[in-house]
Symmetry: C2
Subunit: 332 residues, 2 copies
DNA sequence: GGATTTTTTGCAACCGGTTGCAAAAGCGCG
DNA sequence: CGCGCTTTTGCAACCGGTTGCAAAAAATCC
């Protein structure tokens, strides 16, 4: 049904190569030829088959966009930024949902079948083994929102979760909280582990602070609410560092139900600074994660790797910052 | 770099066709041959190039997933359901973000270049012209969350927005509200227009009800809040039917700031029943849109069309239902 | 066991493009 | 106008697969 290069060539009365060259930039074609071919192409409504050309050029301009975070609203923004950024560079995102996938091999095989030029793993919860599997299969890969490591094995773009943990701890201590708790996301997520270790390493220096910790089983409203309702039954802390904003919102809801007030009775600090955090009826104090920069940088890195697949792996880490709103008591 | 069919054939000592047939189901291969080939393929780590085969078969198993709703959290769920549903059927979603695109032609050209087998337009705000453009280009298309029409020109799966408008009106009247307003989303969205017309056609029958209407300029928290703050300045209505849940939440925040109470002073009913609507600190009364069913049905329709591209267009409309929570006064 | 039918296999052409190479065309210049 | 040089063009092979067709092999039947 669709018009092929051969038909255009016949119509224009030229060779197939001539047509091909007109649509390949950098190829040698005279002005006259170009005009002739373009006319014929327009008449016929021709557009070149990207997949056929990928066979010889070895490039599909397809980029696997791989994630398992389809429940956290910030990822809608992540997808928005990724798809637009890739499109702007003429690349096409092939979306892969790894939600209930535990074995990387199947996805690796699939991405190879479609000859993707590269893969972006956008996830804060996938184990590093996934991105390594892609690299081992020879697919250039960037792990966005991945774990910071001083010796990264694949390209990582994200934040320093350990430092975020420290930052949260410093903030709480500075505001005079002395009974402080960590309410993490899933214990298995690397981001949770790192925030935990940063948080407690900072608090270790403060002998007058008492600490405790627990984990919600997902980065979700329900998980946060459920865990906080449990904590409220027996002697809650003065302030909580929560694994994530949506978890924090669940926590706030539990506190409100129990008749306690934020920040008067309990202080809360989240992480991500999702859009909702600044909604006036939530007004969550939180740690801002520079999502836009992470995505932009990931795309730049991906593009660079397309030209230089064996590029030496690097970690690009962006600083986070506290966004003060209404869920922590003010500095004295 | 990747292993090709030819190499497998040489290693197994058979013809290329034999290898091809082993990986094509329904083809005639003896058990002995199959075992030989599979062994060689395994040794070499071969996996067939889906794009190359698409050249002769004419099928890529690529489905364009087209949307411009990257700011409404319910679409994260929509993407989750679509990607998983498509993957489960061996189809691959090629994501297209139309956020600032006004001309369908560019996307049509792109999807043709990649020879997608079909396109799902998942949007409540794109004009019908977009889906028609795909159909005219010979791409099987399903418009999910599209406008209901008794004479659809392309396949449409969604809800009857006119009926939703009526339903909202009936609900408000039944609860004794007599001064009722419509606070729509963007006036240009077909969903807004239909809800508007259903809402007012139902209210037309009630002589004792006074009505008014206005539009927010997006389906967003900020737009809803801004519009409500404006409305609160002069004689607000007793109850509002809001274009969407996230808009409603902005509206609730404005009302809270003004010192009025919901549902005592003002009643609110939303639409969508997004996850957030049932969060205890929001607890929004709303109209449930059966997203899961819409997505599932869209995928089924898409799959059916792959076998029968000229299938007669149909509209699949799912009923919505009121979800009673805390933002309308109870029935008397 | 041989003739006949059915199944399996390989050959070669094709899908829609790209590209190295050599021939053809165009150019500048004396 | 003819020469040498540069640019443009077409030929043909190739990318990694599939498939119709006929030959080869296996299965069935008498």
């Amino acid at each position: 049904m669709p018009v092929t290069l051969k038909e255009v060539a016949e119509r224009a009365g030229v060779s197939r190569s001539a047509v091909s060259r007109t649509f390949t930039d950098g190829a040698s074609v005279s002005e006259k030829m170009r005009r002739k071919v373009e006319k014929a192409a327009r008449d016929l409504g021709y557009s070149p088959n990207a997949l056929a050309s990928s066979l010889t050029t070895g490039r599909t301009k397809l980029i696997g966009l791989i994630s398992n975070n389809f429940h956290n609203p910030i990822f809608l923004q992540v997808f928005d930024l990724f798809t637009r950024g890739l499109q702007d560079r003429g690349l096409r995102p092939l979306l892969v949902n790894l939600t209930d996938e535990t074995d990387p091999q199947a996805s690796v095989a699939m991405l190879r079948q479609y000859s993707v030029d590269g893969a972006v793993v956008a996830s804060s919860t996938l184990p590093p083994g996934f991105s390594k599997a892609f690299r081992d299969a020879g697919v250039p890969v960037v792990h966005s929102f991945g774990r910071y490591s001083s010796a990264p094995q694949v390209h990582v773009v994200g934040i320093d979760n350990v430092e975020c943990g420290r930052m949260a701890a410093r903030t709480l201590v500075a505001r005079g909280y002395r009974k402080i708790a960590f309410l993490g996301g899933p214990e298995s997520a690397t981001s949770t582990q790192d925030r935990y270790s940063g948080f407690f390493s900072e608090l270790g220096a403060h002998r007058d602070v008492t600490t405790s910790y627990s984990f919600a089983d997902a980065y979700s409203f329900d998980a946060g609410r459920r865990e906080m309702l449990r904590l409220l039954k027996s002697d809650p802390a003065e302030a909580y560092f929560c694994g994530d904003d949506v978890l924090s919102i669940g926590v706030l809801s539990a506190i409100a139900d129990s008749g306690l007030r934020v920040p008067e009775d309990i202080g809360i600090i989240g992480l991500n600074d999702m859009e909702m955090a600044r909604w006036e009826n939530i007004n969550l104090t939180t740690i801002h994660q520079p999502i836009r920069q992470i995505v932009t940088s990931s795309i730049e890195l991906m593009v660079a790797m397309l030209d230089e697949p064996d590029r030496y792996p690097e970690a690009r880490i962006f600083p986070c910052s506290i966004v003060e709103r209404g869920t922590l008591r003010p500095l004295k």
